[in-house]
Symmetry: C2
């Protein structure tokens, strides 16, 4: 069993690293202007990663695609933050956050990871969409695409992982989600070969639910007003990532490379005291989307 898990860790790592290359190539071609910068880093406690960042593109204000594979022992601070008694861990993962310039194009996040703690191994991950000026058809298309990937592996996955995503990306102190969800799963420790096949499929097709939305929206005109709304919603993105996100907590607690972990934060974000959109406006309409809903009904 131990040998199998070590092999799974290394197979997952190979998958993530290969996918990082092809995802970056696809995103750079989609942007059409800027290139990725690659930074390799090492972690003093064991392992390291490769961070790929595209900045100031035509389409993307920032796009980041990270892979990392780290191992070692949790220190007292990490143990207090992450809970449990077992100190030995191994983690390999890929994560990407795409922040377009245009408020008409949603932000997309995806992350897939394989972790072990002591003898226990599991997969986690998912992908979620954060639209600003929100179109119902985009949200539906994103959910439909992820459902079809899920359905290839298990007919219960989408319903379960969609609901999990709604819970996970809820910001308790705001009583709303950071976006419109997608799928999220964690602690999948049974039937690891089946889950690995699913994660591989997710990873290989991670851009396909998002690309049609980008193509539909990237040339839509917008002005200062839409941009302002985007910056304000990006504030919520920051709140979620810094206070609640497990990956961010795990990364900071295990002394990963800070600039790689926090590439998920938006390039620019705003906080406006007690802002409320005008009733009936597109902004007011957008706010109704950030609540769990059955998008495929």
């Amino acid at each position: 069993m131990k040998v199998q898990k070590e092999r799974l860790g290394s197979r997952a790592q190979s998958l993530f690293e290969a996918q990082q290359k092809s995802i970056c190539a696809e995103l750079a071609s989609l942007d059409g202007h800027a290139e990725f910068r690659f930074d390799k880093w090492e972690r003093s406690g064991g392992g390291g990663g490769l961070t790929a960042i595209l900045s100031d593109g035509v389409l993307f204000e920032r796009a980041g695609v990270n892979t990392s594979t780290v191992w070692g022992e949790f220190d007292a601070t990490a143990l207090a933050k992450l809970g449990g008694q077992e100190r030995r861990f191994f983690a390999t993962g890929i994560s990407m956050v795409l922040h377009p310039h245009s408020p008409m194009v949603p932000t997309m996040h995806a992350n897939f990871r394989y972790l072990t703690r002591g003898e226990q191994g599991w997969f986690g991950g998912g992908s979620d969409l954060t639209p600003y000026i929100t179109k119902r058809e985009d949200v539906q298309a994103f959910h439909r695409a992820w459902k079809s990937i899920c359905d290839r592996h298990d007919s219960t996955y989408y319903a379960c992982f969609k609901a999990w995503c709604d819970r996970y990306f809820t910001i308790p102190h705001r009583g709303e989600m950071r976006g419109v969800g997608g799928i999220f799963f964690d602690d999948l420790a049974d039937d690891l070969e089946k889950v690995f096949a699913f994660v591989s499929d997710c990873c290989q097709n991670v851009l396909s639910p998002y690309l049609p939305i980008v193509q539909r929206r990237r040339d839509e005109p917008y002005g200062e007003r839409e941009r302002r709304f985007q910056l304000w919603r990006r504030g919520r993105y920051v709140e979620f990532n810094l206070i609640y996100d497990r990956g961010t907590s795990f990364g900071l607690a295990t002394h990963g490379r800070t600039e790689s972990i926090l590439m998920s934060l938006p390039p620019l974000a705003s906080w406006t005291y007690a802002y409320e959109p005008e009733p009936g406006s597109p902004e007011a309409q957008a706010l109704t989307y950030y609540q769990p809903k059955d998008w495929l009904a």
Copy 2:
């Protein structure tokens, strides 16, 4: 003892509420353009507060002065986050965060509070400075002014509370402070009358260490470059407040009013991947300031 603590809670509350009025009047007059908006709020679990916000002034991009007095019992989430077993709490406090438009004028924060948990009562608080384009004489003047307030009460206060501030406002994942510190103290539970006299003095003179800096810097010219540096440092401010700040954690965990708690966040902040200032530039110089130093040496 219980009666004395209840009286101390109510005396502290009166102090904070009276000071809020006079501080807001002084800040509005300093700004010279915008007025404070006052929002009274109630907390369903017990208590409430008064939030005063000045937005889009001439001097201040946003200035917030909060008072709140809340009580009740911690729920399971709050208990897990804050630790300990005792559920009954009472907290009264004032906090202010001043975010000027100009990167030549530092951000200032101050907070004073009296808390009880079960039978135990204590004071906490402090004030710290976050300059952007940083002048050594400003930092020295700020520290000197707080030392002189401290020295009126106890000759050991400044050294102790300055070091505490350095520790408290350090951002572990960045290995730097959010600014240049000032004073910070917490859990002061002995000789409560002496501490209350000190806190009263701090509160009544809270603007005096800051105002001379504002007057010196408010008309200094700046451009896009200085503004960009300010927005980038404000990103650090957000990181500290959302991940580490006790007041923010306490407020969110006890279901305070989110917009009041998060008025501390800057109106606009940026994150630039792997940004490093040019060696020898004023920005590079500023970075050397965000480490604990003996400013009065």
